[in-house]
């Protein structure tokens, strides 16, 4: 049995490993195309994949455009970190106001008094700030801009939330690996990337001040803390800027998307069963352990429970696929 899936690159390191282990254990072979969240949504809409994957849940308008009812299943929690490259500097702290100033290009040098005031313990070089952003449309940009729009009125007004934005300053690089590579190769740079990419390349990450006023280190625990929210029935919730005082603020679920009624087009019952079983396994303890091994935080219990309820509602010709 072979399934095809496509979508977000943000959770791709997790999916690649999990799907490989799953098929080794007798599960279906899954061809996952990391083509971006938008591509994942499009592929599901065109019914060319068994399931899609996205970092930004579908808006009501997007849901209305789909040919059938779509279910969101959260699979893990990822975080977007602020990675930087400053010679001899470690332990940089950033506030929402500083993020706004740096990424909008109004704070131009690293030793700007606004930055040094927040970082009294470290010596910042008199170096120009070079912002590195994603040149391609991306769920990472969506999560970062969703957070920025919540904490900065100026950002909300000028930039808004989206997978691609109109950047006033800095340089663009393609994909999480592109941004990570550019930052690690050039001094004075700062950019937002998926946690595991910064972690893997050992790029320093800033501690970001959360809604309770604490500077929070990006760690799996601080990501899990952010997921401490009331889970809506359809799991469509953004957990950026969490009210939890221990939460890292730029955190998000990432989702698998699939049709609630699996009998469509030429989709076979076998493929439907394999799809549901795979997604169910993905939210289970084995796969969640794989997630933490590649630096994504595992799902909180309420998300696992909600995913189980949603998966029980998946049908083929009106008949539930899971007993």
């Amino acid at each position: 049995m072979t399934l095809s899936a496509a979508g977000a690159t943000f959770p791709q390191p997790f999916y690649n490993l999990a799907f490989k282990k799953h098929s080794e254990a007798g599960g279906p072979l899954i061809n996952y195309g990391g083509i971006g969240s938008g591509g994942g949504i499009k592929s599901l809409r065109d019914q060319v994949v068994d399931f899609g994957a996205t970092d930004a849940y579908l808006s009501d308008a997007e849901l209305a455009e789909m040919p059938g009812e779509v279910v969101h299943i959260p699979t893990c929690i990822g975080a977007v970190v602020i990675a930087y490259n400053l010679p001899g500097v470690n332990g940089l702290q950033l506030t929402p106001a500083l993020l706004e100033g740096i990424f909008l290009g109004t704070i131009k040098t690293w030793n700007d008094p606004q930055i040094t005031a927040v970082n009294p313990d470290i010596t910042l070089p008199a170096m120009d700030i070079t912002v590195v952003y994603r040149s391609d449309g991306s769920g990472t940009t969506y999560i970062f801009s969703d957070y920025m729009s919540k904490v900065s009125a100026v950002w909300n007004e000028e930039m808004g939330t989206g997978k691609a934005l109109n950047w006033p300053a800095g340089i663009g690089a393609k994909g999480n690996p592109g941004v990570a590579g550019t930052i690690s190769q050039s001094q004075g740079t700062v950019g937002y990337i998926g946690f595991e990419y910064a972690y893997a390349q050992k790029i320093p990450m800033a501690r970001v001040m959360n809604s309770s006023g604490y500077f929070i280190e990006p760690t799996l625990d601080s990501f899990t803390a952010a997921a401490d929210v009331d889970m809506p029935a359809d799991t469509r919730v953004m957990i950026t800027n969490s009210p939890n005082s221990e939460a890292y603020p730029i955190t998000s679920f990432t989702w698998i998307i699939m049709y609630r009624e699996q009998s469509y087009g030429r989709h076979s019952r076998e493929a439907a069963e394999a799809t549901v079983q795979t997604v169910k396994w993905l939210t289970g303890p084995d796969a969640q352990a794989i997630a933490t091994s590649v630096h994504y935080a595992s799902l909180p219990q309420n998300a696992v429970d909600q995913a189980a309820i949603l998966l029980k509602g998946i049908t083929f010709d009106g008949e539930p696929l899971l007993k």
Partner: protein
């Protein structure tokens, strides 16, 4: 003969396929570009705005047209002295020697290196070098992209120029020598004038290649969707913005990208046609 007829039919079908393919590409590009041109009219070409944020979407191609034209022309300017002198070396000064043979193979080797490898080299080797000169902070921008582009198009311009220079009839050169002309005089007064249009055409064809180059440029130009503000400022080209953004594009944005593709197609076709026209006149 039946065999002849079959061969003829096969050849006809395969050339017809090429024709249909090109027509199909143009048709689908034009069709996909319709919504963008409907929305913005001719202003799509002249506008420098590129704002993909939902709610305030606005697309214009001028920043990318400018980025493409500036980097390609700069690359051509940098390429001309390198390619011109190398082709003279190969096809005239050291014609037929082992040195020329080795140099020619090396030039051909340069042509065979994939774009991404040039980008890689630019990113890890050339960029730090430019940063160390102090001219630029991060080394990303128009100039770095143009420099790598220049190196990439040198082999095309060189081999074509060398071919044309070696086609200059030896009777002409021998006549000049017999009149007492020096080597330098023969080259500048006989060889170059008679090969002139062919050499110009080879540079125009090289320019055509530079216009569509994508991967190496994307890695070095900084991908800022704005009018370039200087030689060392970031910008973006038509091919590079398409490569970057089509994955997540939808609706009007997709149409805008397709329209940029169509414009790039037209510009490249125009430049190539110009090159071919000059070659034809030479021949």
């Amino acid at each position: 003969m039946a065999g002849d007829r079959i061969t003829k039919a096969l050849l006809f079908i395969s050339s017809l396929t090429i024709l249909l393919l090109s027509a199909g590409i143009i048709l689908s590009l034009a069709g996909g570009a319709v919504p963008a041109f409907k929305e913005y009219g001719i202003g799509f070409i002249t506008s420098t705005k590129w704002n993909p944020t939902a709610g305030s979407e606005e697309y214009g191609a001028m920043s990318f047209i400018a980025g493409t034209v500036i980097t390609s022309i700069l690359a051509l300017i940098i390429c001309i002295p390198m390619a011109f002198s190398t082709s003279l070396f190969i096809a005239e000064y050291y014609r037929g020697t082992r040195t020329a043979g080795i140099l020619r193979s090396l030039v051909d080797l340069l042509a065979g290196i994939p774009s991404i490898v040039y980008g890689f080299w630019g990113f890890y080797a050339l960029r730090p070098l430019l940063v160390s000169t102090g001219l630029t902070d991060q080394g990303f921008g128009i100039f770095t992209a143009s420099l790598v582009l220049a190196i990439m198009i040198v082999p095309y311009a060189t081999s074509l120029s060398a071919e044309i220079i070696s086609m200059v009839p030896s009777e002409l050169k021998e006549a000049a020598y017999s009149l007492g002309a020096t080597r330098r005089e023969v080259i500048f007064h006989v060889v170059i004038p008679s090969a002139r249009s062919g050499i110009i055409a080879s540079f125009i064809l090289a320019l055509g290649r530079a216009l569509g180059e994508t991967m190496a440029v994307t890695m070095l130009i900084g991908n800022a969707n704005i009018m370039p503000r200087g030689l060392f400022a970031p910008g973006n080209t038509m091919a590079s913005v398409i490569a970057n953004q089509f994955g997540e594009a939808d609706g009007l944005k997709m149409s805008a990208l397709i329209a940029i593709g169509l414009l790039l197609f037209l510009i490249t076709a125009l430049v190539n046609a110009l090159g071919k026209m000059i070659i034809k006149r030479f021949a």
